[in-house]
């Protein structure tokens, strides 16, 4: 049984074929990586999964439900969280407010109660705040910065806040678009550790797109390799590393071979 299955996904922009009949399925609790050279269609897959792009053909099954035609907000509410390659935090707000927005769809108080900030809405807010403090802020070691505006934080920390916000959604599947892009070695190591901890402690399935092959090889359970919108290989890290198509895509063909 898979938590997320993609069947024959195809996407084109005008005459440009971005994805061609890509299929894969991800098992619950797995760390599944999608790699490939620039322009291979990695981010397009994430955008299809998140609902920002509408595929031309193919289906996306999430947790037993066909979500192919749902809007992004509906998919998020079903438990599909995401972090962005170019950090997409709410810049005017503090770290804590950003993280609380992750839990936004779980607050149930209606418009009127919320407008008046009354009774249930207030209790919900307090419970949420405790949960976020315990399960997200402590977990990601960002206690000291939670009152700071996100715009003032270092790049690596902003990435971590974005991850915190996604965790506050209590997702079933977490989509991460290049979580360590632009990070130094130490920040990369921290992020890799957090990703492994999330998998271990939260039972959250993680799908990662990444350029940093070292980290991906270290932490992924399975890897899919894309090139020019097609799946060229899939398997465990050691299998993928030796796959002739993958070597060809990344290093190029040997001349006179």
């Amino acid at each position: 049984m898979s938590i997320l299955a993609v069947e024959d996904l195809s996407l084109s922009f005008g005459g440009l074929q971005v994805l061609q009949e890509v299929s894969f399925s991800v098992a619950p609790g797995e760390i599944f990586a999608i790699i490939g050279p620039n322009g291979a269609g990695k981010t397009s897959i994430l955008n299809c999964l998140g609902g920002f792009y509408r595929q031309d053909r193919g289906r996306i099954i999430f947790d037993g439900q066909d979500i192919s035609t749902l809007t992004p907000d509906r998919r998020a509410a079903l438990g599909l969280a995401r972090t962005f390659q170019n950090i997409a935090l709410f810049r005017g707000m503090t770290v804590l407010d950003n993280i609380k927005l992750g839990a936004h769809h779980r607050l149930r108080s209606g418009l009127l109660a919320a407008a008046l900030y009354w009774g249930r809405a207030h209790r919900e807010e307090m419970a949420l705040r405790r949960e976020i403090e315990d399960e997200v802020i402590d977990f990601l070691e960002i206690e000291s910065i939670r009152k700071q505006p996100v715009g003032a934080l270092a790049y690596g920390l902003q990435k971590r806040v974005e991850l915190a916000r996604a965790l506050a959604m209590r997702p079933k599947v977490l989509l991460m678009d290049e979580p360590v892009a632009g990070m130094n070695a130490e920040e990369t190591e921290d992020m890799a550790r957090f990703i492994l901890d999330i998998q271990e402690e939260r039972e959250i399935t993680i799908i990662i797109i990444e350029h940093d092959l070292h980290m991906i090889m270290d932490i992924s359970d399975r890897i899919m390799v894309l090139n020019f919108g097609r799946r060229i290989a899939e398997g465990r890290p050691d299998e993928v590393r030796r796959h002739p198509e993958v070597i060809k895509a990344y290093i190029g063909e040997q001349k006179g071979g």
């Binding site: 907000d73 995401r82 962005f84 709410f90 936004h104 769809h105 407008a115 900030y117 809405a121």
Partner: protein, 294 residues
Amino acid sequence: MDIFLQLLVSGIAVGGIYALIALGFVLIYKATSIINFATGEFMMIGAYIFYSAAVLAGWPPVPAFLVVLGGAALLGMVVEFAILRHMLGQPTISIVMVTIGLSSILTGLAEIIWSSDFKSFPPLFPRAPIIIGEVVIRSNLFWGFVVAMAVVVVFALFFKYSKFGVAMRATAGDQLASYSMGIDVRVMFSVAWAFGAVAAALGGLIIGNIGGIQPNLGHIGLKIFPVVILGGLDSIGGAVLGGFIVGVVENFAGGYLDPYVGGGVKDVAPFVILVLILLVRPYGLFGREEIERL
């Protein structure tokens, strides 16, 4: 000194009302990045809805007021749903032209429905002028200011604390991220237009109560441009402060300079501010400074 205080206090009162109308502009701009040139006409329609309910239908002020709230919200949502939703992704200039066209359509509709004759409301507030120390304020202006400030405070609290308000601020900040937080951005746009129209309509109700109404009442709406350019297009606090500054400056200009030049300074002063602020601080006092990374 008497004159100074008198001009200052009535300037603040007028400025509070400008602030409310400017809020109607800012709410829409903040959430959707659309510059709504029909804000003044939303204001005018709000005043006419009140006139229809209170005078033509003869309802008491409170139900008539509720009809204005509902009617304005509906107007905002219909405009968003029927017109601006389809303009998504179009160049700014096209969208601006659409809202300018919309303002003409609304003015024309008002002439068709209510004729271009001057209309006025039944008295809503006690007639006696309000006297604070040596300063005398017309009762309609005083109570209009009180109502305007109350509405601004309610909107501000709503934005700061309610789940919905927080979601709207998030939408204003980053639409992609909001979508992936489970926020239905289209609903937020719709609500932003409803709120914007309500704020403008209430402003129109207050202005109409002070000076009567005509289909070209919306021209007063042009004065919100100095207000929002001064305060920052996307800042609620800026709209309030900008409203006060413009109200006070135009009153001083009118009181002190009009006698020397034979009038008209009062109407020009806000736009002198507009030009100055665009030269010195184009993003306003509190507006977001757009930084492009090259």
